[in-house]
Every structure is written in structure tokens, then in C-alpha cells.
Amino acid sequence: MEEKQEKALISLRNLQVSFKIEGQYYNAVDGVDLEIMPNEVFAIVGESGSGKTALALSISRLHNMNYTRISGHILYNDENLLELSERRLNKIRGADISMIFQDPLTSLNPLIRVGPQIEETLVYHTNMNKTQKKERALELLNQVGIRNPDVTYQSYPHELSGGMRQRAVIAVALACKPSLVIADEPTTALDVTLQAQILDLLRALQREMQSSVILITHDLGVVAEMATRVAVMYAGQIVEMASAQQLFKNPRHPYTRSLLASIPHADSENDRLNAIKGIVPTLKYLPRQGCRFSHRTPWIPQSEHEADPKYHEVSPGHKVMCTCHETFRFETA
């Protein structure tokens, strides 16, 4: 693969994230290996409970360690983020790695005007003086497409509309020109028209700043619009990883295919949707052996699954877990 030559910006090795439930630890992320390249948008898709957010939060170590255990390696600039001291980590968080959350109203401080909130990151990570900081904040507001930066600079979060707020959050995240932005469901709380605007903005900014984005989402439409590469997560594992083109043109894993088939397509008028049988298992009752998706496809005989599922490369850069993808078919009525 030609991509291998390029050095990964951040690589995850056998990452395990487990949460404590009733005194016992259960893995929400179960052995994930990933490499995020410079200047790419890497999407992680999955339904609620698939472990995608647990994965993202462990990169910036935002989990409450009182009931979380993380093992494995997260290598960034040859350092394992999981072993860094809080102090060292604080130098990286917000500056080199920043986050955009789903709900802009809760990720902004309601008592502080927007301008100073953007400057806050600059206070911690740069030596700018007051005027420089203000200049940078206004520049950022302008960059994220806010028409009157001076007015917005002086506004409180509640005075802004949902789309404007999310733009302000993006401005905060970009303040120190991070090399990696983790965006956790950045448009889920927004209306469709706003969603399109924010996605267009994110894409333009990403191109301009050449930084990488990890995009966490449950919305395959957002993935198709944004991503360079995609990982599909189910029950704590990546079940398929491919470029966006490969994934949408030639989805392999039964889960990916079932998900794509359950989208009410804006351009098909098929009467019935493909519903996936059963539900995503809760953390405590996650199947830990064999193909984890197999119990939602009961019509596929066990012999078509691997006992210990491995990744299979179906084409360069396109990996699928378990052999069941070779013979998978949808249930016929």
C-alpha cells in the first residue's frame, strides 16, 4: 500500500476500553487497531452502544478513570498518550488534538461571552498578548463563516442560533491549529439545512488547514459526504474498514450491508425497509466469542462464521472481519 510509506499521525494498537458495571469491568472497545493518516477525514460509524464514542474519548483521555480502564497504545509523535502525565497531556489536548462535541449549548460556557471562550485555549497554549488573542479570535470567527465577528465576539452562547453556536465551537477547536480534530456527532443536533452548511464548512476548513479529522457519527449520509476512510464499529470491534468509495460501492460485512439496506433511501420507493433483527446488545451482555454480529443474522449457519474472527483483506485497504461476508445473503421472507 502506498499509504504505508507515509507516517501515521496517530496510531491505536490493541486499544481496549472497559467500564465498570456492578464491580466488574466490561470492554466497550475491544481490541481496536487503527492508523489515522495526516490530512484525512477518518469516519467511525456505528449505532449507539457500538463503542465509537468510548474510542474517541480515550484518545483525548476524557474518560472518568474511576470506572474506566484503558489498555493498549495510542501513539502520537512517538509518545503513548495513555502513559503521559496529565501535565504533558494538557499541552497536547486543545492544542494538537481538539474536540468538537454534539451539543454546542452544553460544550460552551453559558456565562462567558463567545470571544473569551475562543481565547481561553490561546491563553493555555500560546504566548499571545491581549490584542493578538482578540485578533486571532475574530479571524477564527470569520473563518468559520460568521458574518459579523465583532458582534458574535461579544455575544453569549444563548444569544446565538444553533448553527452559529456550532460554528463557535468549531472556532474554539481550531484556535491552536490542531493536527487532529475529533468531532463527535458534530451535526446530529442540527437541522438538515444547517447540517449541510456545517459539513461544507468542516470540509473546507479541513482542506485549508490540512489537519486530520476523526468523525464519529451514526449517520451514513454524513460519512458519504465527508470521509476519506471509514471504520464501521459493532459491539466494540471494527468490523469493516475501507475507503469511503469502497465502503459505499462494495460494502462487505453483513452489518454494513444491513445498515445500508435499512436507510429509507431518498431515491428508492421500496415499500419495506430491511430491519436488522434484534438489538445492539448492552455492554454487560455483549457476546465475546465468535462473530459478534452472528446472533442478529440467525439464518446464517454457524459454519459460515469463523470461530475466532480475523480480518480479511478483500482489496487493498479494505478489511473485513470474519468469513461470513463471503456468503452473506439477506433473509428471504
Binding site: 449505532e47 439545512t193 461544507d200 458519504a224
Partner: protein
């Protein structure tokens, strides 16, 4: 069957130290449409466009500021505040947030039987039989009847919501964002059951949603709302293949394409439309931002233009 005529709903804005009404929010400002038996009408719009308010008005949950709502020729406003009126039987609602719409202290049996207890004189055994029947219609086993709502997943809860809504064999169900809190695979289950139930019971739906994919899947006719008024009304084909109003076109252009190769094209398309939105704003909106009255384009297609 349902006739909504020039519906207006204003919410008062209070101000000053005396809390006097200083102005009104015109949440719904002159909306007219009908729902025929077995039809599904979609109401689409962004948050704050007034789509949920219309749903509430049809259930008699908000006072009207003007206009009328007739159900089978009868004015519904005279039923407002009366608990056991027959109108309450014929029109039911499915809510977005299932967990908060199901009483957490009641068993599923009681949740579904509540409407039956209010309207039908059933013995315990008959009631139980009917509840089991309703559960099986939405694909759930009767053993679930004695469980509590928190024991179910989101999709199952929404199916309980559907079962409750159909308990009295209503004619019309107002579904306010019934699947927007659900995961994709679960959403498909619920939508499939809603369609099955419709066919079996000959229901009509007023389907309120902001998701253009879901609406296209479910509805024959669509109304696009903006600022409390309809900007466009038409069949599924009219709206998706031949959108006329600039707002509708903006909405349609925002639907993400499932083909990564279309990205550039879509972005350009959105740029063109957003430019057009500013340039041709006056053709579609009055000075004060109000949407024009609907004008007929053909048998099924109405557009609000100058």
C-alpha cells in the same frame, strides 16, 4: 376526513412588569389541508417551523387563534377539554421521546390498556386478550405485558407506543418525529410496523418529521413548512422531482448523497441554491419574511409564490 382550514395558532409573548401580552409568536399562520382515509401526509420543516404545533392543535391540545379543524364534518374545538368525547377515540398520537411518553411506574399491560379502560367496558380477561393482540401486531411477545417500560430497548418502547395508539382503532394517528430518537436499524423496524398497522387497520397518518428520507419512504403527500406556513404542498413525486419553492429546493439539496463521488457536485449545487436563495428571496417571501399564499401548479402540486 380531517379538514384543517386557515389554521392559526399564536403563542403570547408576555412582557413588562405586569406580564401583559405584548406580542404573539405566530407559530402557525394560516395553514389549510385535508387528510383522507388511509392517507399519509408528511409535515416537514426545520425546528421552529410550526409542524409540531399543528399536530398538537389537531389533538386539541392548544387553543386556536383562528381557522377551524373539522373531523368527519364535526368541529373539533367543541371537544376540547372533554375527556371522553368520541373524537378522543378516533385520533391518537405517537410521540418522539418514547420513554417520557410511557408512564415509568406502569406495566406495559396498564400502559396499553389505559385507553381501553377509559372508553371500553371490558372485563379483565377481555382486556388482557386485546393487549396481547395489540402486542403481537407490533411484533412483540405477550409475555412482555407484565414488564415495565425501562426494561425495553428504544425500538421496542416505540412499538409499545404504537400499540397504545392503535388500541382504540383510531382513524388518524398524529406521529410527531416517531423515529428520530432511534438508531437506523431500529428505525427501520418501527417504520415497517407502522406501515403494516396502517394497512391492517386502514389508518391515516399525519407524519411529522425533519428527516426527508423517512418522509419520502412513508408519505404520499408532503407539506413543506417554513415560518408557520406551507411553502409547498404536493405528492412525493412533485416535491422530490420537481421542487419549485426555493426553501424546498434548499432542503432537498441538503440531503446527503450516499455516493462519495457526488460530493463536489452536491456542494456546488448547494452553493448555487444558497446564492439563489439570497437573490430570489423576494420572489418567495414577503417583505416581513412571511410566506405567500399557496398557488396551484397542477392537480396535486401547490407552491407559495408571488
Amino acid at each position: 376526513m380531517l379538514e384543517v382550514k386557515d389554521l392559526k395558532i399564536y403563542y403570547p409573548i408576555r412582557g413588562g412588569i405586569l406580564g401583559r401580552v405584548v406580542d404573539y409568536v405566530r407559530a402557525v399562520d394560516g395553514v389549510t389541508f385535508t387528510v383522507e382515509p388511509r392517507q399519509t401526509i408528511g409535515l416537514v420543516g426545520e425546528s421552529g417551523s410550526g409542524k409540531s404545533t399543528i399536530g398538537k392543535a389537531i389533538l386539541g391540545l392548544v387553543p386556536l387563534a383562528g381557522g377551524s379543524i373539522h373531523f368527519n364534518g364535526e368541529d373539533i374545538t367543541k371537544h376540547i377539554g372533554k375527556n371522553r368525547s368520541p373524537y378522543r377515540k378516533s385520533v391518537q398520537m405517537i410521540f418522539q421521546d418514547v420513554l417520557s411518553s410511557l408512564n415509568s411506574k406502569k406495566r406495559v399491560l396498564d400502559v396499553i390498556a389505559e385507553p381501553l379502560r377509559n372508553f371500553e367496558n371490558m372485563t379483565k380477561a377481555e382486556e388482557r386478550k386485546r393487549v396481547d393482540e395489540l402486542l403481537s401486531i407490533v411484533g412483540m411477545s405477550p409475555d412482555n405485558a407484565l414488564k415495565y417500560p425501562h426494561e425495553f430497548s428504544g425500538g421496542q418502547r416505540q412499538r409499545i407506543g404504537v400499540a397504545r395508539a392503535i388500541a382504540l382503532r383510531p382513524k388518524l394517528i398524529v406521529a410527531d418525529e416517531p423515529v428520530s430518537a432511534l438508531d437506523l436499524s431500529i428505525q427501520a423496524q418501527v417504520l415497517n410496523y407502522m406501515k403494516d398497522v396502517q394497512e391492517e387497520m386502514g389508518l391515516s397518518y399525519l407524519f411529522i418529521s425533519h428527516d426527508l428520507g423517512v418522509v419520502k419512504h412513508m408519505c404520499e403527500y408532503l407539506a413543506i413548512m417554513h415560518n408557520g406556513r406551507f411553502v409547498e404542498f404536493g405528492s412525493r413525486k412533485d416535491i422530490y422531482s420537481d421542487p419549485v419553492h426555493i426553501y424546498t429546493r434548499k432542503l432537498i439539496a441538503s440531503i446527503p448523497s450516499m455516493d462519495p463521488d457526488d460530493r463536489e457536485k452536491n456542494e456546488q449545487q448547494r452553493d448555487i441554491i444558497s446564492r439563489e436563495y439570497t437573490e430570489r428571496y423576494k420572489d418567495f417571501y414577503q417583505e416581513n419574511g412571511k410566506v405567500y399564499d399557496l398557488k396551484k401548479r397542477n392537480e396535486t402540486h401547490y407552491v407559495a409564490t408571488l
